[in-house]
Structure formats: C-alpha cells, structure tokens
Amino acid sequence: MTGEALFRVRDLEFSYGAGRGAGRGAGRGAGRGAAALSIEALDIGAKERVALVGPNGSGKTSLLKLLNALAVPRSGEILFEGEPASRSASLRRRSVYLHQHPFLFAATVAYNVGFGCARLGLSRAAREERVAAALARVGLAGFGRRRHRALSGGEAQRVALARALATGADVFLLDEPTASADTVSARLIVKVLEEEAARGATILIATHEKSLVEGFAARIIRLEGGRLADDSGAHA
C-alpha cells in the first residue's frame, strides 16, 4: 500500500438483506441472508490504483458499495479518513461509485451530468461549463441535448463517468467500467482514469479485464467466495 490509509476495513461481515440497500443489487450470486463478504482487514491508501478481481459472486461489487456506504455491513467497521464511512460527509463529497450498468435519469445527458455537480452550489453558467468539460473529457462533446435512451451502452458508460468527474470526486469506485463499452469507449474510459490517477485520485476497479489489471492497477486484490484470497499490496 502506498500513501496514507484512506479506507480502513476491519472484521467486515456482510450479507444480503442485512442492512439498507444490502439486498438491492449489491451483487449477485448469493441468496438473501447468505454471507457474501467476510474481510478481516483491508487498508486502501490514498492515490492507490487498485484492481479487485475474482470470479462472479466473489463480492467485488459488494465491497465497492460498502466502501461507498451504499450498503451496510452486518458487523465490523469501514472507516474513511478515520471516520465511519456511513457517517462521513467527506466520503460523500470525495467519492463516487459507478455501476457496471450505469443508471441514467430519464432526461438529457446534460441533466445527468449536471446532477453530479448540483451539490457544488455552482452558478448555472459554471455548471454548464463543468458539464461541457466533463463530456468533452469522455469524448462526448455536443451530446448534452441527447436523451438518455438514445445512447449506446458505451456512451451511457461514458456519460456516467462524465457525471462522476463533474462531482469533483477524487476517489473512484468503479464496477466493471469497460464491460459494456466498445473498444473506443473502453480506451477513452481508461485514458480518463489514467489522467485522474495522475492527478492523485484514488481508483478502485472491479474488473475481469486483464488489460486493466495489468496495465492500470498498481495493486491487485483477489476475492474468492467473499474472502480476501490474495492482496499484492498487503505488505508493500
């Protein structure tokens, strides 16, 4: 692990249906009430590039959602900057989670991306500028007026990434960000992630993509059956 510990996970037990949002798509492959994730200790440092790997149902999605306080553990603790993640205003401000199949609001692309920066209290002009800049970064300049339904899977994924960028977050928790993307979209997504990493962002990616694991990640965490099977950065 490099840098300061940003996330600290201790004695984490998570099962579907155990808490808010826990049973609502936190992952697949386990029934309601089954132990989906059990992690004794895991630290993620600031500015780390981490790849979460493992077979389907191994708990990658659940772990990302738990780190973003979108799911509640049955027991144990998840700290963000030393504070419980579920109560951390800093976590909500600094981090953003991207679904494997992103949810876009039934509206225009501009509305979707603008939603991400609504919390920043910007003027309308500043918000529009930020939206345009975020869309340009993901190669979708001029897409602002398009409806969400008119987008391909790869474009939707890039819109979701633009929306995340517009929040100003510097901690990205990404679930299979290139899984539904075509080659062009996947390349753009990786390029943007490289840029964010170079700026000092912390990036965790759940992925099956070998190229992402080998080319992007500096640390690889393998989950199997909801447990840490291997962590290349555990003793670094």
Binding site: G21, A69, L70, F103, F105, A118, R119
Partner: protein, 224 residues
C-alpha cells in the same frame, strides 16, 4: 337511445350542469388527495419494515372498501349529532368532496407506492453516490416517478367520478347543488326516466374511456 344522445348533443343545460358538477367535485377531491396520497405513497416506497407493511395492508384494504361505507363513516362525523356537525356541511358540495378525498387518497397512495417500488434500485444508489440532496433529489424523484404519479392521479379521478355511495350519502342528490352523474342516473332510472340516465351514462362511459386510455399512455413502458 336517440333521445339520450339528443340530450347531450342539444346541450341540455341541466344534463351538462350535472356533468360539469361531477367533474368539478372529482377535480377538487383528487387535487386535495394528492398531498396525503403522494406523501404516504413515497413513505411506503422508501422501505419495507413492519410499520410500513401494516399501513400498506390497511391502505390496500381501504382501496376496496365500498364507497357507501366511506359515505356512512363520514356521515357519522358530519351529521348534526356528529362531532363535526356544527360545521353544517352535510348535503353540501364540500361534504361530497371530503368523502371523495377519503376515497381517492388510498388509491393515490397505493398506486404511487406500487409504482415507485418498481423503480430501478440503482436510482437510490446513484442519487446517494452523487451526493444528491434537497431540490435536486426531489426533481429527480419527480422525473423518474412522473408516469407513476400521473397514472395514480388519473386513476383516482376516474374512481371518484364513477362512485355513487359517497355522493348519495353525503350530498343527498340535491338538484342544482350536489347532484352528480351517478346519483342522477340512479334517481332517473328509479323514476323510469331513462333518457337522461342513459345520456349521463354515455358521458360517464366516455370519461371512463378517456381516463383509462390516459392511464395506459402514462404507464411506464415496461409495464405495458
């Protein structure tokens, strides 16, 4: 039948006044049931705990209560000897609207709850992870739930327009005051005057068709 159509097409003043009054009562009762109905529906859709399950069961039951029972219940409150008798509302348009609000509120609540329960679970997560709050969240909920809300409103409007129990018991079917399409049909048919009853029946049928067609149009695509 020709005479019935004639009453409608000739613009018979009393017939159209009854239609207009029915729609007015339905409009106000639907509007006034929106706030409690939407609030209740939203609250029910936000979780699945024991109090919510109990209240949703009660609301589900209320949607099936015969209108005459609701009329009787409100009658008990509004009659001269009832706790609200001093307002003198019985047999006034206000009494009909109050009864119809009680009729339509559970319908709005249950349809909003049912509709929002089917909203993609990623919606909540997306709003949370993006740090949505206040007006931004309200706007997003309205946007995602718009077909659900509109469908609930139209369905409630249809239900109160076609009800007879509340209008009869609380309005008293007073000519030029509380007579609605359904109470007028009941009265005219009992007197053997079928022309107006049939003309009002045609108007009611037309309204029901428009309402159902609108509900169908507004229903989220994946429900069709």
């Amino acid at each position: 039948m020709n005479e019935a159509f004639g009453l409608l097409l000739s613009g018979d003043a009393e017939t159209w006044a009854i239609v207009g009054r029915s729609l007015r009562f339905s409009f106000f009762s639907t509007v006034f049931s929106l706030v409690p109905g939407l609030a209740l529906g939203l609250w029910l859709a936000k979780g699945d705990d024991r109090p919510r399950r109990a209240i949703s069961a009660v609301i589900g039951a209320l949607t099936a209560v015969p209108t005459v029972v609701i009329g009787l219940f409100v009658y008990g409150f509004l009659s001269r000897s009832g706790p609200l008798g001093f307002f003198g509302l019985l047999y006034t348009p206000s009494a009909v609207v109050i009864g119809q609000i009680l009729l339509s509120t559970p319908i709005v609540a249950s349809l909003v709850w049912a509709g929002l329960s089917r909203v993609d679970p990623r919606f909540d997560e997306t709003v949370s992870t993006l740090g949505g709050r206040g007006l931004a969240v309200a706007g997003a909920v309205l946007r995602e739930g718009a077909p659900v809300f509109a469908g609930a409103v139209v369905a409630a409007f249809g239900r109160v327009t076609g009800e007879v129990g509340v209008a009869m018991m609380l309005g008293g079917n007073i000519r030029f005051s509380t007579r609605t399409m359904t109470t007028a049909i009941a009265l005219d048919a009992s007197k053997g005057e079928f022309e107006r009853a049939i003309s009002l029946g045609i108007a009611l049928l037309a309204i029901a068709l428009v309402v159902n067609f609108t509900v169908h149009i507004l229903r989220p695509r994946n429900d069709r």
